[in-house]
Symmetry: C2
Amino acid sequence: MTRWTYLFGDGKADGSGRDKALLGGKGANLAEMTRIGIPVPPGFTLSTDSCATVSAAGGDWPDDLWDEVLSALARVEQWSGRRFGAADDPLLVSVRSGAAVSMPGMMDTVLNLGLNRDTLKGLVQAGNPDSERFAWDSYRRLVQMLGDVVLGVEHEAFEAELHRAREEAGVATDAELPAEGLRHVADRFEALVREHTGAPFPADPHEQLRLSISAVFNSWDNPRARKYRQLNDIHGLQGTAVNVQTMVFGNRGDNCATGVCFTRDPSTGSNEFYGEFLQNAQGEDVVAGIRTPRPIDEIDSVLPGMLQQLLDTKERLEAHFKDVQDLEFTVEDGHLYLLQTRNGKRTGPAAVRIAVEMVDEGLIDQATAVRRVEPSALDQLLHPTFDPSADRHVIGKGLPASPGAACGQVVFDAAHAEEWAAGGKTVILVRKETSPEDIGGMHVAKGILTARGGMTSHAAVVARGMGTCCVAGVGALSIDAGARTARLGEHVLAEGDWLSLDGSSGEVMLGRVPSVEPVLAGDFRTLMQWADEARTLKVRTNADTPLDAARARSFGAEGIGLCRTEHMFFGEDRIAAVRRMILADNPRQRQAALQELLPLQRDDFEGIFTAMDGLPVTIRLLDPPLHEFLPHTHELQEGLARTLGWETAAVTARVAELAEANPMLGIRGCRLGILFPDIYDMQVRAIFEAAGRCENKGVTAVPEIMIPLVGNATELDFFRKRIRNAEPALRRDAGFSGPVLVGTMIEVPRAALTAGEVADVADFFSFGTNDLTQMGLGLSRDDTGALLSHYVAAGLYERDPFMSLDQSGVGRMVSLATEEGRAARPGLKVGVCGEHGGDPRSIGFFHRTGLDYVSCSPFRVPIARLAAAQAALEAAR
Amino acid sequence: MTRWTYLFGDGKADGSGRDKALLGGKGANLAEMTRIGIPVPPGFTLSTDSCATVSAAGGDWPDDLWDEVLSALARVEQWSGRRFGAADDPLLVSVRSGAAVSMPGMMDTVLNLGLNRDTLKGLVQAGNPDSERFAWDSYRRLVQMLGDVVLGVEHEAFEAELHRAREEAGVATDAELPAEGLRHVADRFEALVREHTGAPFPADPHEQLRLSISAVFNSWDNPRARKYRQLNDIHGLQGTAVNVQTMVFGNRGDNCATGVCFTRDPSTGSNEFYGEFLQNAQGEDVVAGIRTPRPIDEIDSVLPGMLQQLLDTKERLEAHFKDVQDLEFTVEDGHLYLLQTRNGKRTGPAAVRIAVEMVDEGLIDQATAVRRVEPSALDQLLHPTFDPSADRHVIGKGLPASPGAACGQVVFDAAHAEEWAAGGKTVILVRKETSPEDIGGMHVAKGILTARGGMTSHAAVVARGMGTCCVAGVGALSIDAGARTARLGEHVLAEGDWLSLDGSSGEVMLGRVPSVEPVLAGDFRTLMQWADEARTLKVRTNADTPLDAARARSFGAEGIGLCRTEHMFFGEDRIAAVRRMILADNPRQRQAALQELLPLQRDDFEGIFTAMDGLPVTIRLLDPPLHEFLPHTHELQEGLARTLGWETAAVTARVAELAEANPMLGIRGCRLGILFPDIYDMQVRAIFEAAGRCENKGVTAVPEIMIPLVGNATELDFFRKRIRNAEPALRRDAGFSGPVLVGTMIEVPRAALTAGEVADVADFFSFGTNDLTQMGLGLSRDDTGALLSHYVAAGLYERDPFMSLDQSGVGRMVSLATEEGRAARPGLKVGVCGEHGGDPRSIGFFHRTGLDYVSCSPFRVPIARLAAAQAALEAAR
């Protein structure tokens, strides 16, 4: 028989911190904290199994689930010495969701269950002087939450009633409403429920409990939660757990409080206790950002001695969980209770600093440090920051909620943010406060600016999780959503205005502030060294210029895995010659154009070889999307006709002749080389001459010539023979004596499927996973962006296969080709140079598949190094 | 030590008919005939090994080769009682090529080796009264052939000298030149050789022999021979053998003759001895078509009793070789010698008749008959013939050299034929006589018409081999090649004029004569029945209309493997609704258009189900190349805008929005269905409703719904669930109770690579090998036609992968997917519906891979049946 419920309380727990998959993160950690003696209000957790079972049964509960809930509830009653539904000092409980992976704010919560018009009197009797007001406030909150979450009454309807009550009472905030006013509110809320549902508000505490648990089960599949999982790449979970826990109240009087803390600063990683509290408030008041909370180190001013209790708790939690904790606490009548602890989300810089410092402190070992930092989080350390010497026209300041430097155009709602971003604009999302409904807009925004809320507000937490720059709680900001304008001090901002946000200082600046390049130093460098010790997969870079090559080398690149020669052909000084070369209708014309290009190509290669002195440089011979080079305007055609000595009409005709129905599957790559071998001949000569010049000046060039778009071993063999036959003369002319490899891209499915034959004539393989994905999946990247978004949303592909390698399809070709290539040629060097080479998840696959290296854009080199290290550590376990 | 030479003579032979790979077809059969006692002039064969060895050594002979030639020659001298190079009655030999596969006229031959100014006197002494003339004629032929073939002197230079000699002598033909004239010709020929080569004509018989053998080795790789092998799909041979054989002379006087015979009629297959001879002539005079020969049954008029000798030989050859023989003979001084025998090339109809009749005669068994007919030869039985009731404006008549009915535009040379055909025209190649240089033009011509030459002339033999209609030897035809006109009787034909040829009657008709459909009857039906008994692979057809379905069924199709629904959408009555459906920007508009299409689709399906009563019909849901449906002219856009109630600009914009950079990899197939499921819903409903109507009228519909362009099992699962969920209601509404399968095309490489997952949700697989080739090879069919021709010519692909399945690449996906699909779902039905389903070589692969069926166009159904039978017989061996 399956067990559905897991108790925690009285220093004991059925579960533990290891049971996250079964009890969710929250439930597992409540159990763990209970076990180690941290004060936690007693309760029990319904397993994720129960959610999955109920959901699979279309909402029906298994026979024994309710009985188990009742008997668990009985134990909680025992521990707390109160009875659920009792008129006198009743036990109240909360019902909260909690999945294995944190999804903050995405699912539902109901508090104060067990209250009704009878039991609320029990609160009054048991209470302090303000207890009648507290009792009615607690009851109206129950009606509101249960009405909204469970019974589907619109949130706004409740808010409208509250608004009316405040007006009638002539007060500005709910907190000022007297007991009588709150009683009226509760009456109206009950009426609202009756009106919307046709039935009275459920007074039976057991019915409240059962309905709430069901609602939380359901909330697992609400659209918001599904979108969150999709955006955050959360897959494979079976549902949410549900935590039923004794209520403790931070809003029962002035010796009560509630707060949220991080054991270290989640923005910078500095080892300082960090958090906020609100006196006399409930937890969601902090998170919702409705009242601006006070810094945690001021708590002793209202609850003397509490800070030390919290610091002691912090020490115990970090020592036990060995990671930064994000904790929620409530103080009820001076007693501290922990309601939640979890590993704290942090920025990239903070993640690096915390990992390195925890090793220094002896809390964790190097391998753990390397494993703990999300490779993609490094992105934040690798992107520009504002130039310190630039003028900043600061017009406001808020909390530095998530670091980074963002410039973008102002938009005032999430829908516009998504629309503008889809149109290629960079946007700053400006909101009074954000809510889970804004998640899509936050995801596409370069930066987020809010008028209200603190460092732990929704905006701040989500932005840090996304690595998006955020400045929160800019009190001087007032937004007129209707007019699509905002005022900040004396400045009026209209939709579309440019704004710059500094997420590390909290500054808001008018216009576009210039930025500077990042450097790899300090903790970051230390972590990278540890990663390098752990990894076996080499990391190269894709670079077409000496500048990119040098940058990538400073980021730790161990060579160039892809140097695209066609990009070099777009320069002002050469595009005309390139066009003549392509349009040439006889070998002499083509040769003349090629002779012009030869010295330019040689200089290109010399610069790159010099930047990569001693490291291998894989040069891909021309792989043109032909149409990109063609002169498409009449003016350009006319000019070209003059230099070719043709009629303009002839150029126009030739351009039309070269047009292709499906350029992706047309005359590209080595096919052009097969038709016109002299183009590749020129490039090969340029490579040898550049390498010779390097040798002459004491620089070691290590060229690897890569033939693109090979589908059949015969194609590669054609060029290999041609190059090897020419080699003695080329070496003599150029004065180059180092080794030169000749290998191929594996980017056409057929090449992967016949890899044994290809390996017979290849010195190396480099997977071009972009094309392998396009052809293997039959999806043109240019045409199916919207389709793929739809596919991912509908679960037809788990991820966008151009972002993260489709391991079962394209990946199968990669592993098959690696295996059969190496069988044919033992020790064959195999790498990957598609964009997946910089994707951590794909890198894990490439490591497991036994590739020698990945190659990625310069800015992703450190990410790849870390991901490769994690893959190696993972495999070693 | 490798043995290079194989003797035959004196009733014994080193080789036999089984040694074709080693001795070539000619050499092996000379050995075999010698063994069975047929009179063959003695000689020896240099193996294909020796050709390969010499060619690999760049023309150098292995040390022992010449020694072996000399000792073989000594044996031949012994048998013939003459000495090579003797002044008195010298032994003369011929040197002829002969590959394992017949390549008529493609490689070189030199006759009369051993003659020089000394030895030719030996011919005179040994001769008859005209022997001096004969001797000089033989010598000048040697100088001419050796000069042309071995020494590279232009053929035309010799012809010009002959022409001058005839003029000087005042005679019309070479035959009228007296001995003295021929002696002058020989002098001039020798001078020509000296002039062109700077050296005297080689007088040493051994040098002549060695040079000639080398030249024949070389001729294996001449461009003409390579092109022939490419056109005729001849691969994997190592070279030609070389036959050195005692000369016998058909031109030594009036009791001499030479001829070419078929043991049965190669045009019709009728069992009649069939051939031609020339009195007092050499063999090449018959083949070259310079003199028009006489029918073989007239031979007794000049050589009494010879016919019976030939008929006896015919009987022995057929009884021994068990196939129609194409034989060359020479009668020297009343003695019959066989110079060659080989299996005779024949037309498709002849092949079928001969195979069936030989079974009736007990010569071969059914399996042999089935194996013997080239599947592609059936094409000739399956194409239209001229309507017997049509008016024929006959303007001339020739020999019915190769059957068929051809209409086309007249061209007068091969180059023009190729050019016009490439431009999409159908051409009739009109030549005085054809030569091997014309091969490219003959290949593209619909029909061939010659003024000279008989049934065994070059034109006739090649045309029959190609299955191309040919009328030969139209004596009344005179061609003015310079003016590009011809005169036939009173008619003047200009280039571009339309002509119709009847290859079965020899009639030449002005204009375009209408044609009628073929029927499957008689011997053809018998052979097909034998094939059906042998094969295990089922054969279905690709058909989109009831008419095609019925035709294919009459050709033996066992179901429809591919019914393309998008083709149905092009009809006048529906294209407007289709366009509205595609352009619709909201579901209501789309639904309205779909409702218009539903009854039309239902009628389509009902017609097809009815035609295929009881047989399965695989219907592929809409797989649109979207752009093909779009209105591209302003006028069409305007009209569509009116019916949609849009601005024209909006239609134009939407058309632009739907344009794709790579439509082949864009929104096609099930992707459209995923985005707009109601399109497929409509089609599924139409299928059920049509099937219900059939059930109601007693017709058995067996629908199989096929989802196109699936790359991921999730896509198929989406539709499968949707169809299965809708099924109960559809069945109820439609009144259909039969089974309905839901399966998929495997045409995206990823689907093949994840076939196990796809099979979990598929009732059947059907390989779409066209797209699988396009995507697997990364080659768009629309863009790479010229590239692929170049690739095939350069040997980069062995064959055009769109014509014949690329077995190692695409085929690997087919076999992998079949294996893994069946592992996941035992008994999974697997077929192929790409165009390769009608290609005999590919069918062999599909049989070996274990597919259940192939599907091809109606006209290829019998070809596929035969190919499937051959594959089964092959596998059984």
